[in-house]
């Protein structure tokens, strides 16, 4: 159950939630905030960080969440989650409802409770202007590379057309690069929601959208399978807001108003000019505006790395001692641990700890991240320590034995300290690697430095300034560490 407010450390979020929980049990349900999950990296017009105040999100999904919360008499609270993980995250109870341009798909409907559709979209083809007449439909794209966002309805369509129309599907992790690669000529078409396509057309340009839709679909809110009561309340609120025009107002304000089929196209074209100016912001001011949230995210990265490394060093030492001094059984067990952890991707381990174990123990995202990274690095650390312990000459140990030290004292006073000197350089190496590997935990909804940078970059449509800022922050964390280790090493080398 993560309670991460956007840009806030999970522990801080937990504190806030604890504060909210102090109401008496009767009032509790009413006073509890409505936690809703979305991915600010998905960007406008769904959910994006507000360029004027990056600690807040905005977008039509944000406003719909506000309407729902208002209807329920609760305060909306945003939870950042990777888009592809929204359904899993809501099922494990990280938040009450997911809203982030989630498509109504049969397989999702089977697994979770979905709200009524609140917006209709069309899957449209984008092609380079020169191909406007050549590639009108998927059938025209036989043998051509067609890009889309992974795990979407559009991707499913492309997979189906792989055999029928012989298109070559190319899956991306975000909805910006398909279009930049289209313009650059790496792919021949992009199939995605018209809302995304038009957004990218305004920001990037350089391609055209074919008028003939490939398919139509709907956006829905997603709730845990068993949360039918809340879903019904949400549906009642959505239906009411549709009737009184509130939803239309929101969609209009985000230039996605679509009066279903026939009138949709004309209305969008009429609104385009207004929207074009919306997110053009000055690079310098937005860099300043994002700095606090980047620094907060850097704090999370640092805390995460330090705590993970403490766990890795502690557990790694125990594993190394067990492998050097333990019985055959203990040695075998620890060898299996080291080989399994080293031999499988840390991403997989994070998923297993966070989502896989959620039926047994629901760890907060930050804690799951610390445990995942810590146990993973413990395997590497233990190998370094084991090798270092075994590199200490036997004569040193025998000298200690003739002086009457116990085995424990020899490890603590003679073998350990000498091994530590050998292990220092590879340990520093690992810690620097861990600083960067900590960016992987965004897959389990922790917003750290890289994820925050990605949100920022998606928001302003450029990686140049965010990328440089992000790199500077990482370097400012890793360089002092390297220098400290070098100084320690120099001091020890003198001896």
């Amino acid at each position: 159950m993560t309670k991460t407010l956007l840009f806030c450390a999970a522990p801080l979020g937990a504190l806030l939630l604890l504060g909210a929980c102090r109401a008496s049990p009767g009032e509790r349900a009413a006073k509890l905030p409505l936690r809703w999950g979305g991915d600010a990296e998905g960007g406008a017009p769904f959910v994006e960080a507000d360029p004027n105040d990056p600690s807040h999100v905005r977008g039509f999904d944000v406003e719909i969440a506000d309407l729902i919360a208002q209807g329920l008499g609760r305060r909306p609270q945003f939870v950042q989650v990777a888009w592809a993980s929204i359904a899993q995250s809501v099922e494990r109870g990280d938040f009450d409802v997911g809203l982030s341009g989630i498509e109504d798909r049969p397989e999702l409907r089977e697994r979770e409770s979905l709200t009524m559709p609140y917006l209709e979209f069309r899957e449209v083809l984008a092609v380079r202007p020169v191909d406007r007449d050549r590639f009108r439909t998927l059938a025209d794209l036989a043998g051509r590379r067609v890009a889309t966002l992974g795990s979407t309805g559009a991707y499913q369509i492309l997979l189906d057309e792989q055999t029928r129309a012989k298109v070559v599907p190319v899956s991306y992790d975000d909805d910006v690069h398909p279009y930049t690669d289209l313009v650059a000529g790496r792919v021949d078409a992009v199939l995605l929601d018209h809302i995304i396509a038009e957004r990218r057309l305004r920001v990037l340009g350089g391609f055209v959208i074919q008028p003939e839709p490939v398919a139509t679909g709907h956006y829905v809110g997603v709730l845990a399978r068993g949360n039918v009561a809340l879903r019904d309340s949400v549906n009642a609120i959505l239906r009411e807001r549709m009737r009184d025009g509130s939803l239309e107002k929101i969609f209009r304000s985000w230039d996605v108003w679509d009066d279903a089929q026939a009138t949709y196209f004309a209305r969008v074209l009429a609104d385009t000019s207004v929207a074009a100016a919306r997110n053009v912001s000055n690079g310098a001011t937005s860099a300043l505006a994002y700095l606090p949230s980047l620094l907060r995210a850097a704090g999370i990265t640092l805390a995460l790395s330090v705590l993970s490394m403490v766990l890795a060093v502690t557990f790694g030492t125990a594993v190394a001692a067990g492998r050097v001094y333990g019985s055959a059984f203990v040695r075998g067990l620890l060898t299996v641990y080291v080989e399994v952890v080293r031999g499988t991707p840390v991403l997989l381990q994070l998923f297993v700890i966070y989502y896989g174990l959620s039926g047994v123990v629901r760890l907060p995202a930050f804690l799951a991240a610390v445990i995942g990274l810590g146990l993973n690095y413990a395997a590497y650390e233990s190998e370094i320590y084991r090798a270092a312990l075994e590199a200490i000459p036997r004569s040193q140990l025998e000298a200690a034995r003739t002086l009457g030290f116990s085995e424990g004292q020899i490890l603590r006073l003679v073998r350990g300290p000498q091994a530590l000197r050998l292990a220092l350089a590879p340990m520093t190496n690992d810690f620097v690697a861990l600083l960067k590997d900590s960016s992987l935990v965004s897959v389990i909804t922790v917003v750290e430095l890289t994820k925050q940078t990605a949100i920022y970059a998606t928001n302003i449509g450029s990686w140049v300034v965010p990328g440089i800022l992000c790199a500077l922050v990482y370097l400012s964390l890793s360089l002092p560490l390297s220098r400290f280790a070098r100084r320690l090493e120099r001091k020890w080398n003198l001896t």
């Binding site: 000298a399 003739t402 030290f405 004292q409």
Partner: protein
Amino acid sequence: MEPHVTAQTLTVRGLRATRGSVGVLRGVDLDVASGEICALMGVSGAGKSTVLRAIAALQPFSEGSIVVDGFALQPGPVPAESRLRPLRGKVGFVFQAHSLFEHLTVMDNVTLAPIHVQRWTRERARGVATSLLETLGVAARAAAYPRQLSGGEAQRVAIARALALDPHLLLMDEPTSALDPARRGALGETLSALAQQGRGLLIATHDVDFAQDHADRVAVLADGVLVEHGPAREVLANPAHAATRALLQPIDSSP
């Protein structure tokens, strides 16, 4: 063994040890009395180090007995360190390569065991260590680390470290191998002084001159058995066994 009036510090009887299926020691009898320097001689591979290591319980032996100041070691696997505590206080070992703790200063090398094994206070341990280092002439190097020491300095620190626990028996493995002639003489005087304090010294060496000048007795080991023993000057002046003559050989043939 010829009878000794002084108390026996070390008594070894019928010592046998094997490495794989090869007999390294094939029945060794050896005594060292308090106040006596005994040189255990033999060519490389004769089994000198094995005798020392068995006495210090660093390696097992298959048959025979070893008694140090009333503490008896039995054949079979080396006992756990906790059961060897009484022995550790009685036997000091100076290794050929000195094996000083590389991460500690000279002072910490000498005081580590008194502080952590004997549970002495730091002040007491440092006091004892300082006087030992002074006696051995390396007090000025107390703050140095092992890799900053010369071979001779490292050896004297290793002796100080072994003496800090005040052992009755001091074992030394090839102490002269890295010393020039002048330092050999100084070492000999140091060892004589230790013997006069009532300690027994068993020194594995193939250095005939050193044994002749400083040992009270020599025992010559060849192929895992003791082939000759007796007062140093007698044995080395009139070698009765081929192995002893072989030891003397390089000196005769040197240019």
